[in-house]
Structures are given as structure tokens and as C-alpha cells.
């Protein structure tokens, strides 16, 4: 699985960092989503999927 984020659509809901705090964060500078890990461990797949699904503006794309 590869994770990509789109800061241009991110609206800082922060749902992703609730679901997968080790994979996503918000940028200190602009408040937008950043991926701390772009190739998560299989043990993190469920929470990464939950994070992507819970983004109201679909700023997270998973390549599975």
C-alpha cells in the first residue's frame, strides 16, 4: 500500500490523525495534512483505510 495526500484539498478536519496518528499529521506551518509514512506496514492498513475513508474531502489516496 502506498499513501498520498493532497494538501490543496485538505481542509484540516484532522480525522486522519485521529484514525492513524502514526501515519498522518498536520503540517506545523500551514495546518494541512502530511503523510509521515508513505508505505505503511500491513499492521497499519486498517487504520490507514479508516483515515482515508473518514476524510470528508478525500484528501488521502491509497494505492493498493
Amino acid at each position: 500500500m502506498k499513501v498520498s495526500v493532497d494538501q490543496t484539498v485538505c481542509r484540516e478536519y484532522a480525522n486522519c490523525i485521529v484514525e492513524a496518528p502514526d501515519v498522518f499529521d498536520l503540517d506545523e506551518e500551514n495546518g494541512k495534512v502530511i503523510a509521515l509514512i508513505t508505505e505503511p506496514d500491513p499492521s497499519q492498513y486498517d487504520e490507514v483505510r479508516a483515515a482515508a475513508a473518514s476524510c470528508p474531502v478525500k484528501a488521502i489516496t491509497l494505492h493498493e
Binding site: 481542509r11 484540516e12 478536519y13 484532522a14 480525522n15 490523525i17 485521529v18 496518528p21 498536520l26 495546518g31 479508516a50 475513508a53 473518514s54 470528508p56
Partner: protein
């Protein structure tokens, strides 16, 4: 793994739950037919933008669609739009549509959502609106373009969001609220003053402890009469006084309804093979044990995913801390958990944060304004049942 004949799944309702259940069923390998039945003519769309970006013109109606045309084909979903479900016959396993057509199912998901509560004192005049569906939002957006004075009845989230959009278009805005503060039901008795202040800064007036006794107008709305005798002129009126679950069509079906369809923590109703999720349902939360009807996007999403899991043989339970957001004046308000009998507020560099605690000295809710990172941390603290003292330390460090 041997695959018995794949059951057919019918979802009644065309919102976030329908789109999510359909998508998740396919992701989890469900091979049987999936049908979405909805009284709306649009394919499933997302409601949060209706009181925010769609009104402001930064999101189009098409952009609110949850399943893009190609995705509907790819997922192999059948949409039956523009016809309401009128009844449910659980013994025959059939949904009866308003046009008499019967839709058979093996597994059923009830997701008919809720509708805007009506006030008997409000006549149907031009310029009087409720906001629930896409058509409501586009109609309000059109009228905002020429409106000069908006009155909102009810300082709930939808009303306050519309007030904020209207102010940004330089429309005169007054919100009339019966309670002493906005959002008392959600935020408790004190925290709502945050919203009164925020709206005052932007030139919108929230008049609390005030009731509209009469709506004036002949063809179009002209104003509202307040209980103090004052007449507030208005050429646009929004009534935002809560929502009612759409359960009437289930009368006589055997599905237990008590302020929403009663569900266990997997979304199953009192009738086997019949599930419910979203605004129409009242789930048991496995972590708190409470039976709650939550009118929130995030809960609807989670419940839809859990129902899809149950429909494909899983046993996930709903145990998460409820969470929602509201966008007003470029500021994001977020609440996780619930308000409690005690609260503590602190002004952080990014905005106010309010902690809510229960009588057992546990953190039960966190409200943040313009501080999503703190909200995310707070939600985990609430989920962990953090002690009040420890939560206060966290707040002091923000």
C-alpha cells in the same frame, strides 16, 4: 473458502450511509447484488457542504456527489432514485415502494436519515426555508444573492453556518434562539457563548432567550414577531430547529423504533437481517453502553462501515467517541465526545479549547475552535477515559 449464493443487499436511503455501505461491501468482497433505493432524484450526496461551501459557491452540486458515475458502474450498484419506500414487509423480505413496486432483499439496510423539524407557527411563504436536501441548499443560495435581511430561527449548527455564509455576503443577519445560549443541548450551558462572541465579531446578532411568535408576510416573508413585541424585518427566513428521524414508513414492520431505529452495536435491528445506520438509527455504543441517536457525519460513516462488515460476516462493534465539526467564518469548531457537568476553558494560541468532565472526574468531551490538532489529541484522551486532572495538565500545555 466456499462461497454460498451471495445475498442481495438493499439500502433504503441515498446519503452517506448508502454510498459507504455500497463501497465497503465491494471492498470486502461482497459479490451479490447491491441496490440503493432513494426518494431523492440525485445519486447519493454529501450533506455537510449544503450549509457551508455549496451556499458560499465554493463547491458545486456535482462535487457533493459521493459516488462518481464511473464508480457506480465499477461497483456494479443499482440505483432506484426518485421513489420513496412506503412500507416494509419483513416476513416476505420486501420493501414496498410508493409506486407499488416491491423490492426483495436478503439483507436490508435502513438509512432514510432525518428531515428538518417543522414549526407549526411558520407558514409556507416565499423566502421561508428549511435546509436538509440539495434542493433546499441551491434554493437558499439563489435567494441569498438578492437577500438583504436574513432571520434564522434556532441557533443550531445549520442555522449558525448559514448565518456565517450570509454575513460573508454582507447580508444583515439575526439568529433567534429560545434557549439562553446557542447549542445548549450540545455544548452545555456555558460553551455556547463562544459562538455568540464569534458571530458578534462578524456583525451577526444572536438573540437568545427569545422566541418567534409569528411569521409575517403575504406572498413572501416580511418579518418575524418576537415574544417581546418587536418586529424583525426579513426577506429570507431559515428555520433550523433540529431534525426528526424518518421512521414512519416502518410502522407495522416489526422493526423496533424508539426515537430512531433501535440497533445493537453492530447495527442490527430487532429484526434479523435488517440493519440501520446514520441519522435514522439509535445504536448502542459498545464503549459507553449508551443507546444514542447521533446526527453526525462521522458516526454515520463509521456505522455504515460496521454494517458492511456485519453483512460480510464480520463482528465489528461501534465503540468510537462521537465527533463532529462545524465551519463558520473560516473557523473550524470541533467537538468530540459530549458536554458534561463540569468544564474548563483555555485560550490557546490557535483558539479556545474547552474540556468537559463528568461527575466521576473523567474527561468526556473536548471542544476546539480553530485547533484541529488539539481535537485529534483530545479525542484519543476521551476514548482512553482520561482522568480530569490529567486532562487539565494536557490543556495547560496546549
Amino acid at each position: 473458502m466456499s462461497a454460498p449464493a451471495a445475498p442481495s443487499v438493499v439500502v433504503v436511503g441515498g446519503g452517506l450511509v448508502a454510498a459507504t455501505v455500497a463501497r465497503e461491501l465491494r471492498r470486502l468482497g461482497h459479490a451479490g447484488p447491491v441496490t440503493i433505493v432513494s426518494d431523492e432524484v440525485e445519486p447519493p450526496y454529501d450533506r455537510p457542504p449544503l450549509s457551508k461551501q455549496l451556499l458560499a459557491g465554493t463547491v458545486t452540486a456535482e462535487e457533493t456527489h459521493l459516488l462518481k458515475p464511473g464508480e457506480i458502474d465499477d461497483l456494479g450498484i443499482t440505483l432506484r432514485l426518485g421513489v420513496a419506500a412506503a412500507g416494509l414487509e419483513t416476513a416476505a423480505q420486501e420493501v414496498v415502494l410508493a409506486d407499488g413496486v416491491r423490492v426483495p432483499y436478503d439483507r436490508l439496510v435502513l438509512a432514510t436519515g432525518s428531515r428538518a423539524r417543522r414549526l407549526p407557527s411558520v407558514p409556507e411563504l416565499t423566502g421561508v426555508h428549511h435546509l436538509r436536501a440539495l434542493g433546499d441548499s441551491t434554493a437558499i443560495a439563489t435567494e441569498l444573492a438578492s437577500a438583504r435581511r436574513l432571520v434564522v430561527i434556532g441557533a443550531g449548527f445549520i442555522g449558525l453556518e448559514v448565518a456565517a455564509v450570509a454575513r460573508s455576503q454582507d447580508i444583515d443577519v439575526t439568529v433567534v434562539e429560545t434557549a439562553a445560549r446557542p447549542l445548549t443541548r450540545v455544548l452545555g450551558s456555558e460553551a455556547g457563548s463562544l459562538l455568540t462572541d464569534m458571530h458578534a465579531e462578524h456583525g451577526a446578532t444572536i438573540r437568545c432567550s427569545t422566541t418567534v411568535t409569528e411569521v409575517r408576510g403575504t406572498d413572501g416573508v416580511e418579518g418575524v414577531l418576537l415574544d417581546g413585541g418587536e418586529l424583525l424585518p426579513a426577506d429570507l427566513l431559515l428555520v433550523g430547529v433540529g431534525a426528526v428521524p424518518n421512521t414512519e414508513w416502518l410502522a407495522g414492520s416489526g422493526v423496533a423504533v424508539d426515537d430512531g431505529v433501535v440497533c445493537d452495536a453492530t447495527g442490527c435491528t430487532s429484526v434479523p437481517d435488517v440493519f440501520a445506520a446514520g441519522d435514522v438509527s439509535r445504536w448502542r455504543n459498545a464503549s459507553t453502553g449508551a443507546q444514542v441517536r447521533v446526527e453526525q457525519w462521522q458516526s454515520a460513516l463509521e456505522q455504515a462501515m460496521i454494517v458492511a462488515d456485519a453483512l460480510t460476516g464480520g463482528s465489528r462493534e461501534w465503540d468510537s467517541v462521537p465527533y463532529f465539526w462545524s465551519d463558520q467564518y473560516d473557523t473550524k469548531l470541533q467537538l468530540c465526545g459530549a458536554a458534561g457537568p463540569r468544564s474548563e476553558r483555555r485560550e490557546t494560541a490557535r483558539g479556545p479549547v474547552v474540556l468537559f468532565g463528568d461527575d466521576a472526574d473523567r474527561l468526556v468531551g473536548v471542544l476546539t475552535v480553530g485547533n484541529p490538532r488539539a481535537l485529534a489529541q483530545g479525542r484519543r484522551l476521551v476514548a482512553a477515559g482520561t482522568a480530569w486532572e490529567q486532562a487539565e495538565e494536557w490543556l495547560a500545555g496546549l
